[in-house]
């Protein structure tokens, strides 16, 4: 270590900058506070249970056939379905209709077929029941909401 460096003084602005930045970083981390890009670092923080509640969105064609909305192959902007569905009960009927419309449009663009309605189901899966390499039995589903294309939608 050379003596010139030892004699140097760190500017006051640098001290204040580091103090404020680290304080904000530590407070967000300790309190789990989200002020993005500062974050509470909740990565897989909850303990998962074998029985896992979830949601499923399906499109219905003119013949009444259901097809799960293929979120995985839709554009990036439509792939936040897990969170959108989690917040589905908090949406107004108008907001639900707008969400369903967005999914129906994307599904129609993808498949070329016409979507008559979008149905939203609550699911419950027990991942501890296995058949081979897949979960079994199929998830229990309860119809939560139906969005007819061009209509406002209705429960069940």
């Amino acid at each position: 270590m050379d003596r010139a460096a030892d004699r140097e003084r760190v500017p006051a602005w640098a001290r204040r900058f580091v103090a404020v930045y680290l304080a904000a970083f530590l407070v967000c981390g300790l309190l789990g506070f989200e002020a993005w890009p500062l974050t509470g670092w909740r990565l897989f923080a909850d303990a998962r249970q074998a029985r896992q509640p979830g949601w499923q969105a399906v499109t219905v064609d003119g013949a009444g056939r259901e097809t799960p909305v293929p979120f995985r192959v839709l554009p990036a902007g439509l792939q936040g379905e897990v969170q959108v569905l989690k917040g589905f009960p908090d949406l107004s009927p108008g907001e639900r209709a707008a969400v369903c419309q967005a999914w129906a449009d994307a599904a129609e663009r993808r498949s070329g077929g016409r979507v008559a309605a979008v149905r939203v189901y609550r699911t419950e899966t027990d991942v501890s029941h296995r058949v081979g390499e897949r979960g079994a039995p199929p998830p229990v589903r309860t119809l939560y909401w139906t969005c007819p294309q061009g209509g406002a939608g209705a429960p069940g």
Partner: protein, 361 residues
């Protein structure tokens, strides 16, 4: 109270101790390069086409009703990538690095505006913050190649060195310095400047602040698990159920996920190891050699998550590598090996072998 003050003073002394400009430059190069790759490959224009009904904004994006328009996003993305590449190269880094960061923040915020905070780029953004006002391009940059370290060596006229101010010139080790003619210094061989004392307090604090951020990120991830799940995070079937659910959600069963989930003992072991690595990570600040344990563990942890759950955390793993590895020490070691032995022997204090002096620029 007195102990707390002493501890705080020691902490301050550590953060603001002198540092090597090359370590700071290594952070600039590595983190800017990761940012450039991330920004060049991100789905920002695709996200911009999101229907407004699905927009779940985060942070400052709440000011908008929908994702920004694709045209604007494309312009910002090009600007951000160009600035990040220039910052990595050390070109006008005082401007290009803050510009790259400022342009990257709204783009990366878009990826977290689908309803869930995506943490894979957050550590990178946070590690870049201390670099924004720092002199990151005083080594390993085109400007540093062209000039000696500022304030230390006056720029000589070609073939001529101005007489140093009295008391400002270090006395050369006997026999190692050619005696200059009065008022005249021999020109140094191109690319072989005599090494000035490399450390300065200006270069130390950004590096150590970033080290705290990386260590803190892992520690707080572990702490959140303890606070929200408690011992059940390790002791229950938590990891098994998460891996089964993840495998079931993938188009084909995931062999890596099933390998762990089918073996309860392995799932408990990996869960415990994860918590230990996360909570123990700050130990590397106290004992830097422990990085040899924690850094490979963290990289393996992210690789395992990708293999089992297909969650892409490579920017976080790469950030850890860039920040925690002492690149100048590695460069010196390689230079010494290339020179066939410890060429430092007999060098004056603060001076490194010629090859490493050249590396410094």
């Amino acid at each position: 109270m007195r102990r707390a003050e002493t501890l705080l003073a020691r902490l301050e002394g550590w953060v603001f101790a002198p540092g090597d400009p090359r370590r700071l430059a290594a952070l600039r190069i590595g983190l800017s390069a990761i940012l450039a790759v991330r920004l060049a490959t991100g789905p920002y224009v695709e996200l911009a086409g999101q229907p407004a009904a699905l927009f779940r904004p985060i942070s400052f994006l709440r000011l908008l009703d929908a994702m920004p328009p694709p045209g604007l996003v494309a312009v910002v993305q090009v600007l951000a990538v160009a600035a990040a590449v220039l910052a990595a190269a050390g070109v006008a880094a005082r401007v290009t690095l803050p510009l790259a960061w400022a342009a990257a923040v709204p783009l990366i915020a878009m990826t977290s505006s689908l309803g869930k905070t995506a943490h894979n780029d957050v550590l990178l953004l946070l590690c870049l913050v201390p670099l924004l006002p720092a002199p990151t391009a005083e080594a390993w940059s085109p400007a540093a190649r062209r000039r000696p370290a500022p304030g230390r060596w006056p720029a000589p006229a070609p073939g001529r060195w101005p007489a140093p101010a009295p008391g400002r010139w270090p006395a050369p080790a006997p026999g190692r310095w050619p005696a200059p003619a009065p008022g005249r210094w021999p020109a140094p061989a191109p690319g072989r400047w005599p090494a000035p004392a490399p450390t300065s307090r200006r270069y130390g604090w950004p590096v150590r602040t970033v080290l705290v951020v990386v260590a803190g990120a892992y520690f707080f991830s572990g702490l959140a698990k303890l606070l929200h799940a408690g011992p059940a995070w390790v002791a229950s079937g938590n990891l098994r159920w998460a891996l089964y659910a993840s495998s079931d959600a993938q188009p084909h069963p995931n062999p890596a996920a099933l390998l762990v989930a089918d073996r309860p003992w392995l799932a408990h072991l990996l869960a415990a190891a994860t918590l230990l690595v996360e909570l123990g990570f700050p130990l590397v600040l106290w004992r830097p050699r422990l990085a040899w344990l924690f850094v490979p563990a963290a990289v393996a942890f992210h690789a395992g998550i990708w293999m089992a759950m297909r969650l892409d955390y490579w920017p976080m793993a790469a950030t850890v590598l860039v920040v925690m590895v002492d690149w100048p020490a590695l460069a010196d070691r390689l230079a010494r090996r290339g020179a066939g032995g410890p060429a430092v022997a007999g060098a004056p204090s603060g001076e490194r072998p010629a090859s490493s002096a050249a590396d410094r620029r």
